[in-house]
């Protein structure tokens, strides 16, 4: 059974088609990055995976369950890291409270030891009483990652994990995601800038309302595919390890 399957999926907001004829299978333990310009439908793809949106056509399956109709059957097995811009900082929550909040909101008890373990993975176990609102962007993102890891999920979905994140925190996040993947967990990250992840992912999906290309980064980042996705050419460089890196992409809008 695949971790995530898109079977001939189309989706539109009102009359505007955002995603067309998506066919994609993501296997268990795969580490996949979804890349594309602004408005390509990347976040919509994540929302379809989470079962928050109903496809206009086709089916999305997560761990074999229909994502929209049976989301309660897999929700505990999916960790989600939302865009940090969607987080509101009015309530003075400590790091520990932020990590525990989803479980408490669902009426589940959570032990301090589990919270400490999750924070240790991202290297923040010693400041669990600090206010979340006073952390840097990178630290906040690591707390949200720890929160997503708390239930030891089978699948981890991340929406723009590197926005406003310093390089050291980026490296830590990539290290944690690679470790998850090596333990057989499925990791799917929507990104604008693929470079922090590029050496660790199994596949990249290049998206612009439909799948332009999917495969190993070196196969996907051809001149033809980049022009199809972005409408213009983007310079690429091949690093010493032989990976093809696009030099830039759209900024997160």
């Amino acid at each position: 059974m695949k971790a995530i399957e898109f079977q001939d999926v189309s989706f539109s907001y009102n009359s505007e088609e955002v995603l067309s004829d998506l066919n994609l299978e993501i296997g268990r333990g795969e580490f996949v990055a979804i890349l594309g310009p602004n408005g390509a439908g990347k976040s919509t793809m994540l929302k379809l995976t989470l079962g928050l949106l109903r496809p206009k056509k086709g089916t999305v399956k997560v761990l074999g369950f229909n994502a929209y109709e049976e989301r309660d059957k897999f929700v505990d097995k999916v960790g989600y890291l939302p865009q940090r811009e969607d987080i509101h900082l009015e309530a003075p929550l400590t790091i520990s409270q932020v990590v525990k909040l989803p479980m408490l909101a669902r009426g589940k008890k959570i032990g301090e030891e589990n919270v400490r373990k999750a924070l240790k993975i991202v290297g923040l176990e010693n400041i669990s009483d600090k206010l979340f609102s006073e952390l840097s962007g990178g630290q906040q993102q690591k707390v949200l990652l720890a929160r997503a890891l708390l239930s030891d999920p089978e699948i981890l979905l991340l929406d723009e994990p590197f926005n406003g994140v310093d390089v050291i925190s980026q490296e830590k996040i990539v290290e944690v995601l690679a470790e998850m993947s090596s333990r057989g967990k499925t990791v799917v990250a929507v990104v604008h800038n693929i470079n922090p992840l590029l050496h660790n992912i199994d596949r990249v999906v290049l998206l612009n309302r439909r799948i332009v290309a999917a495969g190993k980064p070196n196969e996907v980042f051809s001149e033809e595919n980049i022009v199809k996705a972005y409408g213009t050419s983007i310079p690429v460089v091949v690093c010493e390890e032989g990976y093809t890196h696009p030099l830039y992409g759209d900024y997160h809008g």
Binding site: P82, D86, H88, E90, P92, L101, A105, R106
Partner: protein, 261 residues
């Protein structure tokens, strides 16, 4: 001690609890204007009740205020779903004021009754009013404690809450409805126009000063209660409306603290 004063002192305590809980959750929800919208919607309900009473039909102000405020909560929650909660609140606000003005103008001898609901008077609470304040406060506190983590989660991270299978729309409506009940509870004591100051100013000040969730609730409660008690004392010695003094104190404290910070 005079029964009216004792009643006013206890009612102030209960209203401060309402103001602390509902006001703080409103500030966390980033919808402070909601309190004003809710109070003015309730006023439309009160005005309808006053009009019906004036033509010989028995109608209790609290019930009508509650229905109007809950209807407003429903409209606001629907607007929030589309991401434009302020437009929803503002439109419902002006609609409510328009209806209130129409009903008050149709009501004979309306001025004094309407005045109490506009500016409130905690010293004029009847035994019935006091019972309403007590029962509503217990209800609001129980309901909020039951849904506390859900309300906190949808205020902090609505996307994450939705992803975790929480019905964000339902809990948002419940939160707005409970805030509305709380506001209606304080309506006769504090008044539709001044309730905003008693609910939002102390909570906003507490949000600036507080370093934890519990400290925000506690500071907000102390500020609301101090303002109301100072209002009562001032009213006792100088014959000035207590609600107006309390609202002025709460607002001035907010401006002083936010300016200092």
């Amino acid at each position: 001690m005079d029964e009216l004063i004792l009643r006013a002192l206890i009612a102030s305590l209960l209203i401060s609890l309402n103001a602390s809980v509902a006001g703080t959750l409103t500030v966390f929800r980033r919808a402070s204007f909601l309190v004003a919208g809710s109070a003015h919607s309730a006023l439309a309900g009160v005005a309808l009740a006053l009009f019906l009473n004036s033509i010989g039909i028995d109608a209790h102000y609290f019930l009508f205020a509650l229905i109007a405020a809950l209807f407003f909560a429903f409209l606001s929650a629907k607007a929030a779903r589309r991401g434009d909660v302020n437009v929803g609140i503002a439109t419902a606000f002006s609609l409510s004021m328009a209806l209130a003005a129409i009903f008050i103008s149709l009501t004979r001898n309306s001025a004094s009754n309407a005045w109490q609901f506009l500016f409130g008077d905690i010293l004029l609470l009847t035994v019935d009013d006091f019972a309403i304040v007590t029962i509503s406060t217990v209800f609001v506190l129980l309901a909020v404690s039951f849904f506390y983590h859900k309300f906190l989660f949808i205020s902090f991270d609505p996307s994450g809450a939705e992803a975790m299978c929480l019905n964000v729309y339902l809990y948002d409506f419940l939160l707005i409805a409970l805030i509305s009940v709380s506001v209606v509870t304080a309506l006769k004591a504090v008044g539709a126009i001044l309730v905003f100051s008693i609910f939002i100013a102390p909570s906003s000040t507490a949000r600036i000063l507080g370093r934890s969730l519990s400290s925000v609730f506690v500071i907000s409660f102390i500020l609301a209660l101090s303002s109301l008690y100072l209002g009562l004392v001032t009213s006792f010695f100088f014959s000035i409306p207590s609600g107006a003094v309390a609202a002025a104190i709460a607002s001035l404290v907010y401006f002083a603290i936010s300016w200092k910070k």
